[in-house]
C-alpha cells in the first residue's frame, strides 16, 4: 500500500430509504460499514467509484470516504461526520443505525417501488 494513501470505502444514501449504505466487494450495497469493500490504492478507489456510477437507480451521491483499519483489517470512520453516518443523531441514540432497528437492517434489494 502506498504510504500516503488513506484506505477508502464508497458510501452513498439508498435511493428509496435514504439511509447510509456502503459498497461491498460484490459491487452491491450493504448497510454495515464492516462489510464495505476497501480501496487500498487510488486505482482501487476509482474502480469502486466506476462500479457505483451506473447505479443511480439504487443509490444517491456515491463518494469515497476515508477509513482507518483496525487490527483485523476492518474499516472504521476517521472523520466525525462519517462516524455520525454510521450511527445516527448523537442526541437520539434510539434512532438511526445505532438503534439497531431490524427494519433498517433490511438488505437494499428489499426496497420497493413508489
Amino acid at each position: 500500500m502506498p504510504r500516503d494513501f488513506k484506505p477508502k470505502i464508497v458510501s452513498a444514501n439508498d435511493l428509496f430509504r435514504g439511509d447510509v449504505v456502503y459498497m461491498n466487494s460484490g459491487g452491491g450495497w450493504t448497510r454495515r460499514l464492516a462489510e464495505a469493500a476497501i480501496a487500498h490504492t487510488a486505482e482501487e478507489g476509482e474502480t469502486l467509484m466506476a462500479r457505483a456510477a451506473p447505479q443511480q437507480d439504487r443509490v444517491v451521491g456515491p463518494y469515497l470516504a476515508d477509513v482507518a483499519l483496525d487490527d483485523d483489517g476492518r474499516p472504521f470512520p476517521t472523520h466525525f461526520r462519517e462516524k455520525f453516518r454510521t450511527r445516527g443523531p448523537s442526541t437520539r441514540p434510539d434512532l438511526g443505525k445505532q438503534a439497531a432497528h431490524p427494519e433498517r437492517r433490511e438488505p437494499l434489494a428489499a426496497s420497493g417501488g413508489i
Partner: protein, 556 residues
C-alpha cells in the same frame, strides 16, 4: 384563516401526482439525480445524513388545530414520533422514506397543506410576524399580504430556477418579530400620506456566509403595486444575479455589487414597464381575490372583557410558577382581557423546536379549546396560542405542564434557536443541538434566567446560518477545525428592527468549552450592567466587546 378554493385544492392535489410521477421518472432513469434534485427540493424533500427529510410549509406560521393534528399523525405514522419546527415557520420530518412521500403529501393536501417551495432556488415559503392579527402594536395584519405572495409565487413559471433561494418576510408591526431585514425581501407595513396602507420594501438582507442587513429600496409602495414591484425585483435578480458561485448568488450580493441606487433604478424601470402595459400589469392583484383573502383573516369574534382578569390575578397570587410563566410567556393582545401565549418548544435539555406527536396533539387541543382554533409557529421555534382569554391562562398553563411544554423561558437565555446541525443535516460542519442542550441545562434555574433577563443565543451548525447566529446577542457557529468540531462565538447581534450583525469574539473554541465560556460571559455581564433593566445587548452597546471577550477567553 385562509381556506382553499377549488383551484387551490385541485392544484395541491395535482402536485402530489406530479411529484409521484417525477419520482417514478427518477427511478426509471428519465431524470438524472441532478435533474430530479431541484424538483424534489421544490417539493420540500432533502436527502440528509441518515434519511430523507421532508420540510412542510406552515404558510406565515398560521395553522388550525386540525392541521396540527395532521402534523402529529404524519410524525406518528410515517416518521419517528416527532417533528422539528424551524426558523422559517416550517416543520421538518427527519426520517422520511422516498416511497412514503406521496402518501404524506396527500395527507397534507387533505387539510390544505403542502411542502411546495420549502426548498430549492425559488421563492420560498413566505413568513410573517407570529403575533399577526393579535399583537397590540400592529398596524395591519400581514397575513393577507403573505397569502397573496404565496399565491403569486407558487409555481411561478419564470422564477422556479433562480440563481439561489429567495426568502420573503412580512411584518405588520413596527416591532419587527419577523426578522425582515435578514430576508431577500422584507416588507414592513406602513401608512402613507392620508393613511393609505402600503409597504416599506427592504431588499438584500440575509445571513449565511456574507451576512447583510437589508436596504430600503422603496420607502412607500402602495398596496396594490406590490405584485408588479415584486415581479420587477425578481426579474432583475433572475437576469443579473450571479450564477458562477453559489456563495455569491443571493440577491444581497447583487445589491452589494450593483449598489442599492443602481439596483433601485433597474427595478423601478422594470416596474414602470409593467405599469405601462396595456390593460395594466399582468400581475396586478385581482381586487376580488384580494378581498376574498382579507375576509379570511378577519379577526375572530372575541368576547368583550375587562382588561384585568380577577381569575388570573388570584391564581397567580397562589402559584408562583404560573406567575413566572405569565410574566415571560404571555404577551399583550390588542383585545382587552385577552393575551398571546408563547409555548416554549424547548424544555430543559431538549432539542429546540422538536415536538413529539403527543405534544402536537396537546397543542391542537389547546388551540381548539382556548385560542379560536388557531396556532402559530414562530421563527424562534416556539408555538403560539394567539387569542387566549386571560381568565383561561391558568387552565392553559396546567395543560401545558402536563404536556411538558410549560417552560417559562420565552425571550430568556434558554429560549435558544438551533438548527439541526450535524446530528441530521448533510451540509452541517458541526453539531448544534447538543450545544443548545448543554446551555439550556446550565441556565435552567428559573431565578437565574430571570435575573439575566432578555438574552438571545442562536446556534448554527454551519456557515449557512439557519440558526441565525449572526443576529443572536450571542451567536455560536459550529465549524470544523483539523478534524474536530470547533465553535466561533459572535457578540452583539440583534434580530429586531434595530438589527445588527454580531461581531466575532476571537478564535473558535471546542465543544466542551462553549458552556463554561458562555457562563463566564453571563457572569461578566451581570457584574458590569448598570441595573437589572439593562439588557445584555444594551450593556454590550455601552461597553463594547472587550469585557465580554475577556470573560469568554479567561483561562479556564
Amino acid at each position: 384563516m385562509y381556506r382553499y378554493d377549488e383551484f387551490d385544492h385541485d392544484y395541491v392535489r395535482a402536485r402530489v401526482s406530479e411529484f409521484r410521477d417525477q419520482t417514478q421518472r427518477r427511478i426509471d432513469g428519465a431524470l438524472t439525480e441532478d435533474e430530479y434534485k431541484p424538483l424534489r427540493l421544490m417539493n420540500g424533500l432533502y436527502l440528509q445524513l441518515h434519511a430523507y427529510m421532508l420540510r412542510v410549509a406552515i404558510p406565515y406560521g398560521t395553522l388550525s388545530s386540525r392541521q396540527m393534528r395532521t402534523l402529529a399523525t404524519i410524525a406518528e405514522r410515517w416518521d419517528e414520533g416527532y417533528g422539528h419546527f424551524t426558523t422559517r415557520q416550517n416543520i421538518q420530518y427527519n426520517w422520511t422514506k422516498l416511497t412514503d412521500v406521496g402518501d404524506i403529501l396527500d395527507a397534507l393536501a387533505d387539510v390544505e397543506m403542502h411542502a411546495i417551495q420549502t426548498s430549492g432556488n425559488c421563492i420560498r415559503n413566505v413568513t410573517a410576524d407570529h403575533f399577526a392579527g393579535a399583537a397590540a402594536d400592529e398596524i395591519e395584519d400581514p397575513r393577507p399580504t403573505a397569502e397573496l405572495i404565496r399565491q403569486w409565487s407558487t409555481a411561478h413559471p419564470e422564477f422556479a430556477f433562480l440563481p439561489r433561494k429567495f426568502k420573503v418576510a412580512v411584518t405588520g408591526s413596527p416591532n419587527d418579530r419577523a426578522v425582515t431585514k435578514a430576508h431577500d425581501i422584507g416588507l414592513r407595513m406602513v401608512r402613507g400620506e392620508g393613511g393609505a396602507p402600503g409597504y416599506e420594501v427592504i431588499v438584500g438582507g440575509g445571513l449565511g456566509r456574507t451576512p447583510m442587513i437589508g436596504k430600503v429600496m422603496r420607502d412607500f409602495l402602495p398596496k396594490d403595486h406590490l405584485l408588479p414591484y415584486l415581479e420587477a425585483i425578481l426579474r432583475v435578480y433572475n437576469l443579473h444575479g450571479r450564477r458562477d458561485n453559489k456563495y455569491k448568488a443571493r440577491i444581497k450580493i447583487l445589491v452589494h455589487e450593483t449598489g442599492i441606487d443602481d439596483m433601485r433604478a433597474q427595478v423601478e424601470a422594470e416596474f414602470e414597464r409593467q405599469m405601462r402595459e396595456e390593460g395594466g400589469p399582468v400581475v396586478a392583484p385581482d381586487p376580488e381575490q384580494v378581498a376574498r383573502i382579507e375576509a379570511y383573516f378577519a379577526p375572530p369574534a372575541l368576547a368583550d372583557l375587562p382588561e384585568r382578569s380577577e381569575t388570573l390575578e388570584t391564581a397567580m397570587a397562589e402559584d408562583a410558577a404560573l406567575a413566572r410563566w405569565v410574566e415571560t410567556n404571555v404577551a399583550a393582545h390588542r383585545a382587552p382581557g385577552h393575551a398571546i401565549v408563547t409555548v416554549a418548544v424547548k424544555g430543559t435539555g431538549e432539542a429546540p423546536g422538536d415536538a413529539t406527536t403527543a405534544q402536537m396533539r396537546a397543542l391542537a387541543d389547546l388551540g381548539e379549546r382556548y385560542s379560536h382554533d388557531e396556532l402559530r409557529i414562530s421563527h424562534e421555534q416556539n408555538v403560539i396560542l394567539p387569542h387566549v382569554r386571560k381568565d383561561d391562562l391558568p387552565g392553559v398553563f396546567a395543560a401545558l405542564r402536563k404536556a411538558g411544554l410549560a417552560t417559562a423561558n420565552a425571550g430568556l437565555i434558554t429560549d435558544i434557536i438551533a438548527c439541526p446541525g450535524l446530528d441530521y443535516c448533510a451540509l452541517a460542519t458541526a453539531r448544534s443541538i447538543p450545544v443548545a442542550q448543554d446551555l439550556s441545562r446550565r441556565f435552567a434555574a428559573p431565578d437565574r434566567a430571570k435575573a439575566i433577563g432578555e438574552f438571545t443565543i442562536k446556534i448554527s451548525g454551519c456557515i449557512n446560518a439557519c440558526g441565525h447566529h449572526h443576529v443572536g446577542h450571542v451567536g455560536i457557529l459550529g465549524l470544523e477545525k483539523s478534524g474536530i468540531e470547533n465553535y466561533q462565538i459572535t457578540l452583539g447581534g440583534d434580530h429586531t428592527e434595530t438589527m445588527a450583525i454580531g461581531e466575532r469574539a476571537g478564535p473558535g473554541i471546542s465543544a466542551e468549552e462553549v458552556g463554561p465560556a458562555i457562563e463566564r460571559l453571563v457572569d461578566a455581564y451581570l457584574d458590569v450592567r448598570e441595573d437589572e433593566g439593562e439588557r445584555f445587548i444594551d450593556t454590550y452597546r455601552r461597553l463594547g466587546a472587550e469585557p465580554f471577550k475577556a470573560a469568554l477567553y479567561a483561562a479556564a
